[in-house]
Each structure stands twice: as C-alpha cells, then as structure tokens.
C-alpha cells in the first residue's frame, strides 16, 4: 500500500510542479521576459503532444501484437516534418498572416469566411476528439489500477467504481488547469505561454520515462544490445509480416492526421511564435519521434517473454519495472504516461473550446442579442464564458464517453478511428492551400461525404454490432443491399476495416471536393481568399480591402467597444488615429485601418464573425485593385504598375484631404482669433470709454453733488472690476500655458467636488437635471481641488448653457480603470458636430455665434488645468450627446478606503 501512497504523493507533487511551471511562464511572459519562452526547442517539444498516452503505452501493445508495424504511426509525422518546405511552411505563414485561431477557422477563412463550413469542421472535430480524450482518461486509470494490483496482490483492488472516480478527478483537475491557463486572454491568437511551457516540460518527462524503461529493459533485463536482438529474434514477433497496404496506409494516415488533428494544429500553427522555428523542428521533432520508438520493440519482446501469459501488453512499460521490483522506475514510467495523457487533453480542450465558442456559441449569441448591447465589454465576457464552458463540456463529454464505454477494449481501437475522422479535413485543407479553384461548395460536399462514410463504415460499427447499427445490417447491408455493408462497401470484401474506411471515405471526400469545386462558381471573397492562401508568399497582405467614409468610424467604434471592451477599443482607435496624424478617437476608416480592425476582432470571435460584423457597418467589402491583381495574374505586370499608381494616387488624395483638414483648422482658428481680438478690443473699449468719460466729468465739473460724485465713482469702479476679471482670465490662461502655476494640493472626495461644481454652476432647475452615480463617486482625491472644481464647473455650466434638449439631462459617470480615474460628462443634446470637435479646445473657440456670450476661453483653460494636474480632458465621440471625458492619473487620487 505504501508504494501506492508514494505514487499518489508523487502525482500530487507533479501536478503542483505543472501549475508552477505554467504560472511562472505566464508571469515571465507578462514581464516581457519571453526570449527563452520563444526558443525553437520549446516549439519542437510542444509538438510532442502528438505522442499521447495511446502512443506511450499503446505503442508497446501495438508492437507486441503486430511487430514493427507500430512504427508507421511515427513515420508519417516524420515525413511531414522533413517535408516542411512543402506544406508546413505554407500552413504556418497562412495561419500567421490571417490570424487563424483553429483549423475550423482556417478552412472557413479560405472558403470565403463561411461559418457553415466552420460548424461542420467543429462538429467533426468534437466527434473525433471526444473518444480520444476518453482514451487518455482510461490510460491513466488503467495504469493506476495496475499499480494498485501490484501493490496489493490478491483480489483485484480496483473495482470499476474506483477507476471511475480516478477518471473524474483527473478530468476535473485538467479542466481547472485548462481554464486557468488556456483562457487568460480572449484573443486566441495570443500565445498561451504557460500552457506551452508546461507541455514542453511534459514532453521531456515522457521521453525520459520511456528511455529509462528502455535502457533498463535492454541493459538490465536482457543483458545488452546483442542479447536483446536475440530475444526479439526468438519472440513471437520475429517474422516481419506486415501487409504492404497497412504499412503504406497507416503511414499516410498518421501523416494526414498529424496535419489535421485540432490539437496539432493548435501547437503547430496557432501557438507558433516564429516561422523560423520550423527549421529546427524539421529535424529535431523526427529525432524526438525516433527516440520515442527506439525501445518499443525491445520492451515488447522482453515483456512477451517475461510476463505471464494474458498480461495486457499495453501496460508492459509499467508492469515490467513493477514486476522486477523497481518501484522508482515504475513511478517515473507512470509519470510519463500521465504527462502524455494530460498534455494531450489540455491542448485538445483548448483547441476544441476555441472552435465551439467562436463558430457555434458566438454566432448564435450575436444573432439573438442583435444590437441590444451598446457600449460595454459584454460580448467579450460572453466569449470567454463560452470558451470556459466549452472546456468543461468537452472534458465532461470525454468522461461520459469513458463511463459509457466502460473502459473496454473498444476504446483501444479508437486512436486510429479518430485519425481517419480528422483526416477528412485534409482534402479541403490542402486543396485550399494549393489550388485556387477549390470552392466552398466543393469543400462542403467533400467534408460531408467523407464524414458520412467515416461515420457509417468505421465510427458507428466500432461500438460493436447492435449498438448503433444492427447485426443484420452488418451482415447483409441496409434493405438487404449487399453493396452497402459497412465493412464491405461496393463489394470490397475482406479488407482491413480501417483501411477500407480510409480508402472509401477519402475517395468520396476527394471526389466530391473536386466535382463540387469544378461545377460551382466561387464568390468574389472566396476567390480573393483563395489567391491570398495559394500565393501567400507573394502577397502577404490581407484580402478584401474595405472602403468606407468618415461617418462610419463612430459606428465602428461602438461595435468594437462591444467586442473588445471599451478601453481596448478606444486604445486601438486612438492609436490608429495617432498613426494617421488625426487627433482624438476617430481615425479615418482607411482600408488599412479596417483590415487591422478586422484582424483584431478575428482574434476574438473568429474570422467569419468579424468579417460579417464589419460588413454590416461598412456595407460590404470593396475589391481593391491590388486584390484584383491577385486574381487576374495574366496581365500582372501592367496592372501591377497601374495599381501602384492607383494606390499612390489614393494615398495622395488621402494626404490632400488631411492637408485640407489642417488648413481648414488653421483658417478657422485664424478667423476665431480675429473675432476674439475684436471682441476683446470691444470688451476693453466699452469700460475704458465709460471710465474716461466719467473721470473727465469728475475732473472738469466743479459743482457736482456728493451723490453724483459717488455714483460716477461707483461706475468707474464697476468697470475696472469687469476689466480686471477679463484680464485675470487671460492671465490665468497664459500662466497655465507657460507652466508657472503652483498647485495647491488638498484632499477631498470626488462626490463633494461634484456637489460644489453643480452648485456653483447654478444647481438643478426644471430645465436642467444632473444624473449622478453616488456609489462610484466615493473616491478620495488628493490634488488641486480648486483647479479641478474649476474644470467641473466649466463642463457643467457648458452643458447647462449649450445642451439643446428640454429638459437637459447631464449624466456624470465616474469610473476607475487601471491607473486612471475617469469622469465622463454626457448630456442628452445634439452633441457637437464632427467638424467642430477638433477645435473646441482651442482658445477663442466658441460654438455658434456667442449665443451665451462667453469669451471662448473656458475649455481652453480646462485643457491647460488638466494638463497641469497630469491628466487630460477630451471629447468622447460615440455617445448619446455631447460628452467630455476627464481623466486623472492614479497618483492624484488615494485608494478608496
């Protein structure tokens, strides 16, 4: 019993280590120390999730039953990796340039961003992967019970109920790990450093475990290399009796599955950091596979000889050391199998959950929620929640499958059956990468035909006769038609069932794919995407240029806020605006910006959804000249030239528009300055005139009554006060602008400050209401409160003066985001026209013709004050009316008590 306890303890420690490694890698990545996380070695090791528990334990079992044939499972991937120049290079380049999130996303992107295709691929992937997850759970429980059996000889100690609870614990633990480290960020295209690092570590563990067992068997048990070879020579598997069909078929099958398995796609393409890593993986990964299979045959041969007849050969890796009393080695071997199982399940769950949430849950949710949500990050939360629930769902399905199948031998055959299932993606995938003529119709037809044949000929019969398909159907075919028997389709009798299904499903798949592609006509977007995929090395740009007008930027911002969250979207937009040299939050919707936005959205909700959402607003993709170029290759050079001219002239037009804007702004400011100067002269002149007139009267008239003298002096005094106030304002502004201002730092709460501002601005009346959020206003401030109050008073009285709604309602919404305190002042009026937004913060700027008679210095002073306080005030587009945002850095406020 002690060995079992130690095993449980070691397992726990190992799991803790796994969490620690993932956590450490995530932390290092967040701190920017990613150099070592991005090494090609880590990439190569992460590919090793190809070697699941099925290969770790099962390879020896496979070898014990059919000799050297097991090696085909590794030869296929070896050939694919060595042939990286053909396919993988292209696949990775496409995946990176299109920001692909899963294999379903890739296929849907290629065929015109069709969601139907994505759903089909997703469903097939889930059907193919669930049993595989069950297989991993089974291997962990089997190996655990093998340990238990050795630790306590006598009656079998691991009844079924016990096994199932082990499986449940493992599934739950994996779900926690995957959710913790696999759904950190919504953008599936961002790297999961923690997960990848943990998998790389597990790759090392399983290789070491298998090598250790192998070395022990060869030099410990058999007594050297020559003796081992002798043992193989005298064992049951001495004769090389491999059917050519199975040898070639299995090699091809494993090569296809290597490219198509969702989990392989995840680590190979989605998590790829750098294309150059392929160069290393091209030789290092075949080397890894070679080492993984080096000792399989010796272990199988020695196991067959040493172990009592009837022992499960699948567990030789574990039972051989146990039998010899090498408990430490057995525990290491157990950890190897455990690593293989867990890493596969984690990555498969991430890959599947991304597919399910992006292609099934999100489209449904977006369809039903319509445009209900306006400015909030709710879509984001829905997507993350969907992904987390999908992870739990996928693992739960795997567990249920394991329970129902009872962990029997039906599962063992599942590995190859799942391979045939995912191999159905290959024609659409390769066709899409290499043949421009492949169309959506073809891909749909091929995938459906292949999937149906696979289900009928291999998957459903694998549950045994009379579970899904009746026994008579197996023997005589449906309605007695012998040609349709699941194991002998079209009279192909006596074939190996796996080869039979592989042959027919791929033939139907390829046939339907070619026929469908030849007979249908692709839509423009499909043709563009096709050109982009096939000629990825020539045109690494994005397809489907968008063209839009200025008016749509605001709508785009509203939509992007819903998906990415208000902050991220505003950051993206203002960054783009800054790049274009435009101030504020609204960049010009240039094709480049729209593409960038679509990519950013695609990282969160998948290409198909992102494309549909942008198309809704911009009104359909315009096919730019450069994209047409890609389609019409024949007249390439001439058209290329003219397209460059076109692009140049477009750019010139854009620059001219920007210049015109700048010029307009200058002219406006100049006009305003003239207006202001005349206003100032007028304002200065009027009091001056009366001061002069009355002081002359006082000087020249001798017989003034005391009452008159007092009256005239009072007038002179009032006028000087008015003058002083005007000059104070000007002085204030110039002092602020020159930075010669002393801040008088005080403490107070935001609520009290807003109270003061509302009161000073005239308070609420029946025509003017202020809506406030007293809960959020409970923020302590430590800054120059008088100056800040001046800003608030200005904003409130502006809303009071200029808001054209009746009753005018001003909402004051404070929020603390990250290191910023943000207070939004939003009214319900008509807002500020787009062309005025650029100049309202300029000096002397007044909207309309001095309706309310200000000097036009208020907002300019506000801007200067906020700059002195370390924050800023800006106009916030995309709201219900005029909206101003005051931001203050966190240093200016103390943490709320």
């Amino acid at each position: 019993m002690t060995v079992l306890n130690i095993l449980v303890l070691v397992c726990m420690l190992y799991v803790v280590l796994l969490f620690a490694v993932a956590f450490g890698a995530d932390r290092a990545a967040r701190q920017g120390r990613v150099r070592w996380l991005r090494s090609p070695v880590v990439y190569t090791l992460s590919l090793s999730i190809y070697c699941t528990a099925w290969t770790f334990y099962g390879a020896v079992g496979f070898a014990a039953r059919s000799g050297l044939e097991f090696v085909t499972i590794y030869l296929g991937p070896t050939l694919v990796m060595i042939g990286w120049w053909w396919t993988l290079r292209r696949l990775v380049r496409v995946g990176r340039s299109q920001r692909i999130t899963s294999i379903a996303d890739l296929i849907s992107s290629r065929y015109g961003k069709s969601n139907l295709l994505a759903v089909l691929v997703t469903v097939l992937a889930v059907i193919g992967t669930t049993p595989y997850i069950a297989l991993q759970l089974q291997s962990v429980t089997l190996s655990f019970s093998a340990f238990a059996a050795f630790a306590e000889p006598g009656p079998p100690v691991a009844p079924l109920a016990d096994m199932q609870s082990t499986a449940l614990w493992v599934a739950a633990g994996l779900a926690v790990f995957t959710i913790l480290f696999g759904t950190r960020n919504l953008d599936a295209n961002e790297r999961h450093h923690g997960v990848v690092m943990a998998i790389a570590m597990e790759a090392v563990v399983k290789l070491c475990a298998l090598l250790a067992v192998g070395i022990f068997v060869v030099w410990g048990l058999a007594g050297g290399v020559a003796a081992t070879l002798d043992r193989i020579e005298t064992s049951e598997i001495a004769r090389f009796e491999v059917s050519g069909g199975r040898w070639v078929g299995l090699t091809m099958l494993s090569a296809m599955a290597f490219l198509c398995l969702p989990r392989m796609f995840q680590v190979m393409v989605v998590e790829n950091e750098d294309e150059d890593h392929l160069r290393t993986a091209a030789w290092a990964f075949p080397g890894y596979l070679m080492l993984m299979s080096l000792f399989v045959l010796p272990i199988a041969a020695v196991g067959l000889e040493v172990m009592p007849a009837g022992t499960n050969p699948d567990l030789f890796v574990l039972t051989l050391p146990l039998m010899e009393g090498r408990d430490g080695l057995a525990i290491l071997s157990f950890l190897g199998g455990f690593s293989s199982a867990t890493s596969m399940v984690i990555v498969a769950a991430i890959a599947l959950s991304t597919m399910v949430s992006n292609h099934v849950v999100m489209p449904i949710w977006l369809h039903y929620s319509g445009g209900a949500a306006m400015v909030s990050g709710d879509v984001r939360n829905v997507a993350l929640t969907a992904r987390r629930i999908s992870i739990i769902g996928v693992l739960f399905l795997g567990y249920v499958y394991f329970r129902i199948s009872g962990g029997g031998t039906a599962l063992a055959a599942m590995g190859l059956i799942a391979f045939v299932g995912v191999a159905q993606f290959l024609p659409s995938l390769m066709g899409g990468l290499f043949w421009r003529g492949a169309t959506r119709t073809g891909a749909l037809a091929g995938l459906s035909a292949g999937a149906l044949v696979w289900l009928y000929c291999l998957f459903l019969p694998s549950f045994g006769p009379s579970v899904f398909l009746s026994e008579t159907l197996h023997a005589e075919g449906p309605w007695g038609i012998g040609w349709l028997r699941p194991y002998a389709l079209f009279g192909a009798e006596g074939m190996d069932p796996m080869l039979h299904a592989l042959m027919w499903s791929l033939m139907m798949n390829v046939g339907a794919f070619l026929l469908g592609s030849l007979l249908s006509f692709p839509q423009p977007l499909e043709r563009l995407q096709g050109a982009q995929f096939v000629n990825v090395f020539d045109h690494s740009g994005t397809p489907g240029g968008w063209s839009g007008g200025m008016a749509q930027s605001e709508d785009l911002l509203i939509m992007a806020q819903r998906i990415m969250g208000a902050r991220e979207a505003q950051d993206l937009f203002s960054a783009a605006a800054a790049r274009q040299g435009v101030a504020g939050y609204l960049p010009e919707p240039s094709p480049d910006f729209l593409q960038e936005l679509e990519r950013a959205l695609a990282g969160s909700v998948g290409a198909a959804t992102a494309h549909a959402m942008i198309a809704q607003i911009v009104g359909g993709a315009a096919v730019s000249v450069r994209d047409l170029m890609a389609v019409a290759d024949e007249t390439a050079q001439i058209m290329e030239y003219s397209s460059q001219l076109e692009a140049k002239s477009q750019e010139l037009a854009r620059t001219a528009r920007q210049l015109r804007q700048a010029n307009e702004k200058l002219t406006q400011i100049s006009v305003q300055k003239d207006g202001f100067l005349s206003q100032i002269s007028h304002e200065l002149r009027t009091p001056m005139t009366s001061i002069r007139a009355f002081s002359e009267i006082l000087r020249d008239t001798d017989d003034l009554s005391a009452g008159d003298k007092h009256k005239y002096a009072a007038i002179i005094h009032d006028e000087t006060v008015r003058l002083t106030r005007l000059l104070d304002d000007l002085l204030d502004l110039s002092v602020l602008e020159n930075g010669q201002v002393d801040l008088n730092v005080q403490s107070g709460t935001l609520g009290a400050l807003i109270d003061r501002a509302v009161r000073a601005a005239g308070g609420e009346t029946e025509h003017f209401a202020v809506r406030r959020d007293h809960e959020a206003e409970r923020v302590d401030l430590s800054t120059d409160l008088d100056r800040l109050a001046q800003v608030f008073i200005n904003l409130v009285s502006n809303a009071r003066k200029y808001c054209d709604a009746d009753p005018a309602v001003l909402s004051i919404r404070p929020a603390v985001t990250g290191d910023q305190l943000v207070v939004d002042f939003v009214d319900n009026g008509g807002g500020i026209p787009t062309e005025m937004q650029a100049v309202i913060f300029e000096k002397f700027s007044r909207i309309g013709e001095t309706k309310a008679g200000g000097a036009g210095l208020g907002l300019a002073i506000c801007r200067e004050i906020m700059a002195r306080l370390g924050g800023h005030v800006s106009y916030l587009p995309g709201q219900t009316g005029a909206a101003f945002r005051v931001s203050l850095p966190v240093s200016a406020r103390m943490a709320a008590q």
Partner: protein, 94 residues
Amino acid sequence: MSRERVSVFLARRSYRRRRMADAARLLPLAGGVLFCVPLLWKASDEGARTVGAMIYIFVLWVLLVVVSALVSRHLRHGDGEREGEEGSGGGGME
C-alpha cells in the same frame, strides 16, 4: 511586389540556396520510398526478419534526421521564398 525579369544565371549563393530548397522538397519523397523498401524483402525464401527491418528503419531514420538538419541549416527564414514558389506547381492556376 513587381516581378522583374530574373536573369537566367544566378550568383553562386542563391543558386546553392535554390538547390537546397529542391533538396528539402525531395527529402520526404525519398524517405517515403526508402521506408517502404522492407516490404520488398518478403519475397525472399522464408520471409524477412523483424530485427533486420528494425535496424534498417532506425538507421534510415537517423540519416533522414541528419540530412534534414543539414538542409534546413541552409534555408534561413526569408530566403528564396519567391523563387521557391515558382517551382512548387499548382500555385497561381485557376
């Protein structure tokens, strides 16, 4: 973007690089064929032995790894991609 006329003869370096790309394409084909060679051995009198096939397969495997490492050392990222596409067939036809 523009596809200028490429001269017929290339400098020694880029010539070598292109042949390396060819080698990278050939390698999996050669490997695939060579891995099937043991299937032919069955024709001999009493059938092939597993041990022989195993040694053959593993030696070939190591050779492939070594050759692949040598070839990919010469195919740095970003090199010869344009010309690489011309020979790959399939690309650009519709």
